[in-house]
């Protein structure tokens, strides 16, 4: 039972893959709409990427190269664990380089390097329903999507502005897909939202516990919700990465001591390493780290 070799390629049985593949095709045909699917119990806990893992397992082929990131990094424990799972059960090649991957499974980030045609980005999604925190009932939110009745969402965002002077949503920032469905982009920071718009890669979303799959075909219009007088603004950092010097990328804050010491470094570790490698090759000095 513990022998991974006794499981099917990429763990899932063929019947389960077919069921998920049918759901994926419908998801691509109805961008932003959440297709219910009979999510299986996986050998990892619900909430830890079971939806993403089932989607990845269903699309993966023997000649794919897989990259897995969590918080932008290939080395976070859950990313390591999921990558290991596919190495063991599918025996496929893995990489940490965004450009080399054909399939990228992610939690909470979109890589900084632009994605290309032919690549598939698989998101792990905890709560797929963007209206869930405004209306807990699935029967009701399904009706609202059917009627394209998104008044609740606009009221919520507007109340934010009235109370805080800002739309107080910084991650899982709702988007409208091709002018029709409001979609949850998964808990990626709103910094990443613009990358979804007209992205050449295919974006697939899997929510295992909530049993939903949805998708963004390549070159799909994805608009972050906003108001004319309060346009959408991605999070901006007023500095660059302390390690590679890159600017305009998403940063992790690292606490270096208990006297207020902080440094900011790339959240995308592959991007950071590539920039530093380029700098070394090009004979540029590495950025000095402020102490």
């Amino acid at each position: 039972m513990s022998d991974a070799a006794s499981y099917n390629f990429a763990y899932l049985d063929e019947q389960t893959k077919r069921m998920i593949r049918r759901a994926l095709l419908k998801a691509v045909a109805i961008p932003g709409y959440q297709v219910p699917f009979a999510s299986r119990e996986m050998p990892m806990p619900y909430g830890w990427g079971t939806g993403g893992v089932q989607v990845t397992a269903s699309v993966l082929g023997a000649d794919d190269t897989l990259k897995v990131i969590d918080q932008g990094s290939d080395d976070t424990t859950n990313a390591v664990s999921i990558r290991k799972f596919f190495e063991r059960t599918a025996g496929i090649a893995t990489t940490t380089h965004t450009s080399e991957a054909t399939v990228i499974q992610t939690r909470h980030r979109i890589p900084e390097a632009p994605l290309g045609e032919g690549q598939i980005l698989v998101y792990q999604v905890p709560i797929p329903e963007p209206l869930r925190f405004l209306e807990p009932r699935e029967t009701e939110t399904r009706r609202l999507h059917a009627l394209e009745d998104y008044g609740l969402m606009h009221v919520k965002l507007y109340e934010d502005i009235a109370r805080h002077g800002h739309i107080a949503t910084t991650y899982a920032y709702p988007v409208k897909v091709d002018g029709r469905y409001i979609m949850d982009p998964s808990p990626t920071p709103k910094f990443d939202n613009p990358k979804m718009d007209m992205c050449p890669a295919l974006q697939l979303f899997g929510a295992g516990r909530e049993k939903r799959i949805y998708a963004l075909p390549p070159y799909t219009k994805v608009v972050s919700l906003d108001f004319e007088d309060h346009p959408f603004e991605p999070t901006k950092f007023d500095r660059g990465c302390a390690l590679c010097g890159s600017e305009g990328i998403y940063l992790d804050e690292v606490v270096t001591d208990d006297r207020g010491g902080r440094m900011f470094v790339c959240s995308d570790t592959d991007y950071c390493e590539s920039r530093r490698a380029e700098a070394t090759e090009g004979g540029h000095a590495l950025h000095e780290v402020p102490r």
């Binding site: 806990p45 910084t170 920071p189 516990r209 049993k211 440094m263």
Partner: protein, 365 residues
Amino acid sequence: MYVAVKGGEAAIAAAHTLLAKERRGDPAVPELTTDQIREQLALAVDRVMSEGSLYDRDLAPLAIKQARGDLIEAIFLVRAYRSTLPRFGYAQPIDTSAMSIRRRISATFKDLPGGQVLGPTFDYTHRLLDDSLNEVAAEPTAPARRPIADDANAPHVADLLGEQGLIEPNPQATDDAPVADLTRDPLAFPAERDLRLQSLARGDEGLLLALGYSTQRGYGRTHPFAGEIRMGSVEVHLAPEELGFEVPLGTIVVTECEMVNQFKGSAESPPQFTRGYGLTFGHSERKSMSMALVDRALRTRELGEEVVAPAQDEEFVLSHVDNVQATGFVEHLKLPHYVDFQAELQLVRQMRREWEEANRKEAAE
């Protein structure tokens, strides 16, 4: 210079080695065998089989041992294994009226055909810690068994009421109507009773207990009587299409609870009692009784009553009753969220700057 943390893989491997060591405990104490768990922690095994949705008296003890006695973890192990098993067919419905009874009680009639059979129960034990269990005790002797008349003579209490039309009839199964299966189709609402019962049978004993209890305290009161609780073994049959007849697969132990609940009649139907139903693998009275209470509460819509309490709200109950889902999502908060947290930090810092600026301006004016 700052170096980003690497070596997640080595850390994970080391953590798992530590876990294995912790699981074993003090090596001077003999290792627990799965046989011991099956025989001596039988009620834990029964719970893992029920909520794991897999009747297997060898796998459940193994899961309990591997999970270090964490029953929800053990249930999860069994579920994950179960989802990889191919399906060969669907068994015929079990017939609990043909049960070989080990325990059977009714709270509604003092005596009844087949009699009250107390069987192995904690009921009426005085909850005093038993020092003697610290020692390897002498083998307890079984009491002389009162001969139970032919099992077929223990009709369901609800059927006795049914003969007089005092309780709503049991819904009749239609042979070719498909039975819902939430492990093959995603849960959708409204959920019919077959799907609800499956969900409750797999559901968390603790949540069902609390919800059942809440109905007794007035949050969706249903005036329950424990019409009957029976525990014993039943045969499971398969009827392969190509054979054209039933073949027995073996016997399983189940606990069944039929609650009798009050219900006022309507213009169309005379006053009669209504039913709540609970069934679990193995011996689990608390779970099957709680399940029966919640089943009846969830029939609110079907019986034309108003949904006012949590236990009557099928979307609320069915969406939260699965402890494998619940524990996964609660515990996923342990995973790194620093990307999202950074986004929130940036906004809070910005809002504080704006607030301070506004205050300064105000003070200057």
